[in-house]
């Protein structure tokens, strides 16, 4: 147990949360400008909800990334890198496009989640199969399969965008960039909270088995782990959490990849500590990215949080790839 790592993560979440609620638009003369300071209670409550949704979403992405890394025995795995987010995004876009074409006026959050889950699990199964089709256990083979499949689904989503009317197209474009809703609905918050808590509990319950699963398959089975059942669990958690995150906020990149790696550096490799730490690291990264985007005033509205995570996470991913640190 390394309490120092957990203290660092909790401090990071605390500081990022404070910045997120303290930075915001304030009236200045005729217009608005960014200001730093504690807002009144009503606005503070709204911003706190936004922080909560970012923390839950980041936690879900961190847990999803950890599940996929153990499932595929690949430290470069994450929902975004493997194209799972793009698959889930295509599922959501398809649900929205179908709803529009059948003149269904509105789709509830549940409908978007269903589309995302179907897209996510189908993509994960396809990428895992393609990545395993070659011998040699080269982690980059799987990543390449994910990039290609993700590109195909992204192209499919763009095609759907062209088929829907202008207003819906704008919504889809904004959502595809990865955006945190300013005012999360209660149902969305509850869905996120229950999913993240469920994923955390199940993974933590299996922490010892996850440790053993880092051995070769033969050694893990010989030691007494039911690998088939464990992998089915990881597949479900990795895919479902990524799907719910995408349905809520669009494909947000790299949190699911960097979160588990950051957690490993802070608390070590044992899953009893790594599972909660990966959730906290994901939460810290996304709340931090959300706070950062609040401080960037382009005069044309806030940046989507997905842009911030991609700008920060992309180079980190390249560094991981180049340095070989992912090779453990």
């Amino acid at each position: 147990m390394k309490p120092r790592g957990f203290i660092v993560l909790l401090l990071a979440i605390g500081i990022a949360s404070f910045l997120r609620v303290a930075i915001g638009p304030a009236a200045a003369g005729e217009g608005m400008r960014l200001a730093f300071g504690m807002p009144d209670a009503e606005i503070l409550g709204l911003r706190a909800q936004s922080v909560l949704s970012a923390a839950l979403l980041g936690g879900a992405l961190g847990l999803s990334g950890l599940s996929l890394q153990v499932l595929l025995r690949n430290p470069l795995a994450s929902p975004f890198v493997l194209g799972v987010s793009s698959g889930a995004g295509f599922g959501v876009a398809l649900v929205l496009a179908l709803a529009w074409s059948f003149s269904i006026p509105a789709v509830a959050f549940g409908g978007e989640v269903a589309g995302a889950v179907a897209g996510s699990l189908a993509t994960l199964a396809l990428v895992a199969w393609l990545g395993r089709a070659r011998e040699g256990h080269d982690p980059t083979t799987l990543v390449l399969a994910g990039v290609i499949i993700g590109s195909i689904f992204s192209a499919g989503t763009m095609l759907l965008e062209q088929l829907v009317p202008f207003g819906l197209r704008g919504d889809l474009l904004s959502w595809m960039a990865g955006r945190l809703p300013e005012l999360p609905t209660q149902s969305a918050l509850w869905t996120l909270a229950l999913s993240a808590a469920g994923g955390l509990s199940v993974l933590w319950f299996h922490a010892n088995a996850l440790d053993v699963a880092t051995l070769s398959d033969d050694e893990a089975i010989s030691t007494g782990v039911n690998l088939v059942r464990l992998r089915a669990t990881l597949f479900a958690i990795g895919g479902l959490l990524a799907a719910i995150a995408v349905a809520y906020a669009g494909p947000i990149g790299f949190v699911g990849l960097i979160g588990p790696h950051l957690a490993r550096r802070l608390v070590g490799a044992r899953h009893a500590e790594l599972v909660p730490a990966a959730a906290l690291a994901g939460a810290a990264l996304l709340v931090g990215a959300d706070a950062l985007r609040q401080g960037i005033d382009l005069g044309t509205g806030r940046l989507p949080v997905g842009v911030v995570t991609a700008l920060a996470g992309g180079p980190t991913f390249l560094w991981l790839l180049r340095s070989g640190r992912w090779a453990r």
């Binding site: 880092t214 051995l215 070769s216 050694e219 010989s222 030691t223 007494g224 490993r264 490799a269 453990r328």
Partner: protein
């Protein structure tokens, strides 16, 4: 009266579609015995070990494999592959602890296992920082910790790519452990097999062609049949006849 075997396999086989990797292999392993499975590349040594360890799916494996006790399999046998893998930044001690997954945490068993392989003083080091031979010893210690109460250790080519000093350390550790259970290991080198094993089985083309006491089985005549190449006795070792290089 002969004691019941710790492991009994009768007419076991293994198929991959139309390809038969192993057929009609039978072996009985008793407490205190060290068995060497010997033969040429592709003769079915690893297949036999995997079937004995119950690592193959029932759809591919045939025959009967029975262990002495009715307790869970993980408490009765432990398997060590040719190249142990640890895909996480664990210390040597962490890796050995993994062997206790199905049995329950027991630091004294972990210490005993590390001491038996001579790595108690290096247990705090990262697994990835150890040499190839030391990693092999850690994997064997993980198996020791798993069958601490006595059981069968199944090792696939444990001496592959390891220098003589490490081979001696591992062989010594296996000899110590065999007194509390039994050891079955596959080997390419018949000389090593004769030095280590009390019993041996020679495989050729997926079939057991000789089985029994190591000194009686591991002879130049039997090994010539196993390797399809003339073998000769040279001092205490059996080596290929280098004059016959056809």
């Amino acid at each position: 009266m002969t004691a019941a075997p710790l492991l009994r396999a009768e007419k076991v086989g293994l198929r991959f579609g139309e390809v038969v990797a192993l057929s009609d292999a039978s072996i009985s392993v008793h407490e205190g015995e060290t068995w060497a499975i010997v033969g040429a590349y592709g003769c079915g040594k690893s297949s036999l070990l995997r079937v004995l360890a119950a690592l193959e799916s029932p759809s591919r494996a045939q025959g009967t494999v029975a262990y002495a006790r009715s307790s869970p399999l993980a408490t009765q046998r432990a398997f060590v592959p040719q190249r142990p893998e640890v895909g996480a930044a664990f210390s040597a001690r962490d890796v050995v602890r993994l062997g206790r997954f199905a049995i329950g945490r027991d630091e004294s068993a972990v210490d005993r296992a590390l001491a038996d392989v001579g790595l108690l003083h290096r247990a705090h080091l990262a697994f990835s920082a150890l040499s190839g031979g030391e990693r092999q010893r850690v994997a064997i210690a993980r198996a020791f910790a798993q069958v601490d109460a006595g059981g069968v250790l199944l090792l696939d080519e444990p001496f592959s790519g390891i220098d003589p000093a490490e081979i001696a350390r591992i062989a010594c550790a296996l000899r110590v452990r065999a007194r509390r259970g039994a050891v079955v290991l596959s080997l390419h080198d018949p000389g090593l097999a004769r030095a280590i094993a009390t019993h041996a089985a020679i495989l050729r083309g997926g079939r057991v062609i000789q089985t029994g006491d190591a000194a009686e089985v591991l002879t130049a005549v039997h090994l010539t049949a196993a390797y399809a190449h003339p073998m000769q006795q040279l001092g205490g070792w059996i080596v290929p006849d280098l004059a016959d290089g056809r």
